[in-house]
Subunit: 192 residues, 4 copies
Amino acid sequence: MAGIGTASGPRAAAIFDAARELLAERGHDGLTIEAVARAAGVNKTTIYRWWPSKPALVRATVLHARALDISVPDTGSLRGDLVALVEQVTGLLTGPHAEPVVRALAGASGQPELAELTRELFAGGFAREQPVFERARARGELPATDPQLLVDLVAGAVRVRVLLRRQPLPDRFAADVVDAVLHSARYPGEGE
Amino acid sequence: MAGIGTASGPRAAAIFDAARELLAERGHDGLTIEAVARAAGVNKTTIYRWWPSKPALVRATVLHARALDISVPDTGSLRGDLVALVEQVTGLLTGPHAEPVVRALAGASGQPELAELTRELFAGGFAREQPVFERARARGELPATDPQLLVDLVAGAVRVRVLLRRQPLPDRFAADVVDAVLHSARYPGEGE
Amino acid sequence: MAGIGTASGPRAAAIFDAARELLAERGHDGLTIEAVARAAGVNKTTIYRWWPSKPALVRATVLHARALDISVPDTGSLRGDLVALVEQVTGLLTGPHAEPVVRALAGASGQPELAELTRELFAGGFAREQPVFERARARGELPATDPQLLVDLVAGAVRVRVLLRRQPLPDRFAADVVDAVLHSARYPGEGE
Amino acid sequence: MAGIGTASGPRAAAIFDAARELLAERGHDGLTIEAVARAAGVNKTTIYRWWPSKPALVRATVLHARALDISVPDTGSLRGDLVALVEQVTGLLTGPHAEPVVRALAGASGQPELAELTRELFAGGFAREQPVFERARARGELPATDPQLLVDLVAGAVRVRVLLRRQPLPDRFAADVVDAVLHSARYPGEGE
DNA sequence: TAGTAACCGAGACGGTACGTCACGTCTTATC
DNA sequence: GATAAGACGTGACGTACCGTCTCGGTTACTA
């Protein structure tokens, strides 16, 4: 997106690569500037020339890696779209790249730079999913629940499962989660 | 609970207090052993005698502070119980104490000690809520959804809202979330 | 003098000014190439184009500023000439410009360039004072002491007083020093 | 002397040795804290624990090494004592140890710590030589010249010769200098 | 008048040293 | 037996200069 706001020198690519890899392999605490410099074959001062602090580098790296990008699906049904969405979230958080990033963002306590980035990436997020619900409304299958809340419910379940429960996700988790929100909230006996 | 797993000397109280406060005020990164020692009026070596590392101290502190404890409500209805539960989660994450703790736990990447603690606190969590659902079943109001998943949905929405969206929670958020899962998944026209 | 040995571009004046000022105000250690560039409103590379190193720049600056120049007096007597000479040395070392220069030169340990410059400025120095002694010889007032040594004695006393004792010079110091060397070495009772 | 004011840890000896050697071999600019640490087989932080800055370390090193110490001679005559004194100064400045120290002290421009040390070592110096002149007075051979000034003259000549002229000292320099101040100021024809 | 050389600014870089902070370990008192 | 006190090696922080390089743009002379 416009506004990455990263002036970046010629060596930027190598630095981003190194930073991304370190973040993935050793987590946010293992991402030291000096380690990035070593891994990128670059001098420490070169990094500081471009990013004034570790949060700034992390921010730029995350934005550059687009590690959290999601493509909005169009499957023809609300349920299908939601399942596809949740599967993407699941896939990201299960794969090796995005999880450390999300942990770093969720865990950032005293770094305004990362807090702001987190907000940008997650709070504005609903704009992305909006088309799904517009198509659903056009098809007349929109549930009464506020769409934003609906996304929070399904995505939240996945994220909490990974970030806090730290438990493996069952194969059908995405579908289960979506169905739970769309259908199964009906009480037994209401018919199915 | 049993299994804090830490012998604790006489100075433990002061150390826990200092650690809890630092964690709350300065976040996980501001919680340095030396800062805790200073704040507790205790020598650094004393801390290392009891807790071999920073994660160990954090773990003990979190367990000792019971910062994440929740009391299981009994309001007479499933909806009431769930709303009460979510309100407690909301209250915790909104207050000044629990949020940094949860961030620290969610953000822990390379510390097995904290990962394990996180699992203990969140994965085993459903045992706590089980009575709510047993009472609901007794009353015949149990929805088809897997109770565990149901809790993940509502709690996940709250936690993601705080940890990742970093947005304020509306007043009626708890009720909205619960209602979304219990009722509003019905399609419009099904009646309410 | 011929032999500044430095081609000098148009910006040389500004650079010399800045260097001289920095040397005077912040001493030899405060004279960084980058500071000179900033103060002279000139790019760092421009300085490096003309002077390959800091000692080279210092050397050129000192030569250009003529900070240590002395005019040979002719007062009609050896004593008068010597007093005038010493007063000039005193004046220089008391003023703000020359002292840091002399300190830089005296303190230069590992820079052959500055060592050489020091030799040029101080070792060849006697050539300057020679006329004083030739006139004195013509007047028949030349003492037995080697003139060069005589100059070293009086100038040395002043310089040591400033550089090493770091004490203020009394008003009549120049005259006292000269008289000490010319007269007072006689033992008391020898008459005057 | 009392008042070195140097709290010093167990590793102090190795550090002083390394610092002294580096100062002697590479001059004041070659004396970096990290180089001292390397040479002393000690960690950088250990040095900073004890001496807050480079000047402080230099100061302590110089005081500890007693590189400038002089023993007051008693040869039975003022001339003999003075010659012995000057020979000591000469010997020091000619040897490998003291010269870089004196250069460092003379060259110190912006370091109050070293300026103060210089004053301590050189300004208070006359107290050391005083016995020489008291004995001379007792023997009735005290010249009219202020003793302090006399010392400044002879020592100044030597020091300037080394520090600024940077020329080798002739063998008989000490005697010549002393004689110049004691005797040869007489005009030719006065006899010898 | 066109071209070329001298000069300069700008930007980027690897590198060394600075002085600081926290880590985790160890030894030696002291209560 | 628990603690304080002190010292240490280690790694990383973020900063300042160093000296080098490349590139592109002006002047200003000169052919």
